[in-house]
Amino acid sequence: MTAKTPDGKEVFKKSKIYMPVPQQLGRGDRMGRGPYEKSGMIRESGLPPHKTVTEKFEINFPFEDVKEGDKSVRKILAHDMTIDIELWYLPFGVKDEENSFLWQKVTKSVSISKTGK
């Protein structure tokens, strides 16, 4: 997920991995990566069948605190953000041209009011 202000500046970026975490050789706390060394499951963070996984994010609009006389005043630098939420499929764990692909993408425009107390 990324959030950008209207000038194109990226102000937020976060990603999360969903996948089974296989155990290396069925022992201990190490993850196994290759099929030849995987035997068991340390945990499962993949999307479970017929269940909804909900993720919630709070993204701050950019601001700065400036001194105005004796007061500290919070100045909001952008009142609009474009937020891209992407779900990628990375069968080999990396974004590569041959195997990975963008599975789902939603773009949201979010604004906050410029007036009010």
Binding site: M1, P20, G34, H50, E55, P91
Partner: protein, 303 residues
């Protein structure tokens, strides 16, 4: 006399192992890739089942030890990082790799390798290394072997062999009994599992493959299907989604197919801006809620 008894006992043990280790009773093991490919030759199926055959050709089943190239590469990694690094594998160099070693991968990617001699394992290893070195011919060599018609509709069509009998030579297992218009395979027999998920589960993973001397674990989807889908009341079979509803038939695909990808996950996002306040301080925030609903019968992704 004792020696004679020992030899006869040894023969009694060794002979049946040799004869029955191959797939069909009396079947000789393949000595070359070409022999193994011929043993499971499905090219004649195309004559009558052209559309099905063409669908299958588009699937990765049709290039199961090559895959997208990554499968072949992973076989090499298995040898270099796994087998060669393990003290008791008996593999110090690629030339030491035998069928039993390749079964780490071939259990699912080429189950019929059980019906081949170690010379075939060596040919595959050579092709895998050659492909890795950029030899284009090696790719076509590896693509000679696959999960084809005769693997699913004969070799692996029966799982409970003591109940349903062993797969017979010349028989195509499917949805009905009868005569089959193919001189090489003149009979049709009903397989009790052709429409069941367990057929796919043979390869699509429960967890560690304990039948191997050194278990591997590739896919775990069938385990997820059993324990996280069926156990929760799921009723659909693999074939329902991957063949029938998708309309893909024997071109069984997963998320790479746009239709399958879209059907698999519902992706909803809500977002809005607001001010959070703590006394005199305000924090301008966007709240984003992402909901991902897996509509398949197994975890996403596999692994």
């Amino acid at each position: 006399m004792r020696l004679l008894r020992f030899i006869s006992v040894l023969l009694f043990i060794v002979l049946p192992m040799t004869v029955f280790a191959a797939h069909h009773e009396g079947m000789k093991k393949a000595k070359t890739i070409d022999e193994l490919a011929a043993m499971y030759d499905s090219s004649s199926c195309k004559t009558c089942h052209e559309k099905i055959y063409q669908d299958w050709e588009k699937s990765t089943h049709s290039r199961s030890i090559f895959g997208t190239g990554r499968t072949a590469a992973t076989i090499k990694t298995t040898i270099e990082v796994g087998l060669k690094g393990w003290d008791y594998s008996g593999v110090k160099k690629p030339e030491d790799v035998k069928v039993k070693h390749l079964m780490i991968c071939a259990k699912c990617h080429l189950p019929q390798l059980q019906d081949a001699e170690d010379s075939v394992a060596q040919e595959i290893v050579k092709a895998v290394y050659a492909y890795s070195a950029g030899d284009e011919k090696a790719e076509s060599t590896l693509k000679k072997l696959s999960i084809n018609c005769m693997v699913c509709h004969n070799r692996n069509a029966i799982i409970h062999k003591w109940v349903d009998g062993f797969p017979e030579k010349g028989v195509v297992y499917g949805s009905k009994d009868g005569v089959h218009a193919d001189t090489a395979n003149p009979k049709m027999k009903k397989s009790p599992i052709m429409g069941e998920s367990i057929l796919c589960g043979q390869c699509h993973g429960l967890g560690p493959n304990f039948e191997l001397e050194n278990p591997s674990q590739c896919g775990t989807l069938y385990g997820s299907y059993l324990w996280a889908y069926q156990a929760e009341g799921g009723t659909e079979k693999c074939q329902d989604c991957h063949m029938r509803k998708s309309g893909l038939g024997h071109n069984m695909q997963s998320y790479r197919d746009p239709g399958m990808g879209k059907a698999a996950v519902k992706f909803d996002v809500e977002a809005y801006g607001h001010y959070w306040r703590d006394g005199a301080k305000i924090v301008p925030q966007a709240f984003v809620k992402v909901e991902m609903t897996n509509k398949t019968g197994h975890t996403i992704p596999d692994g």
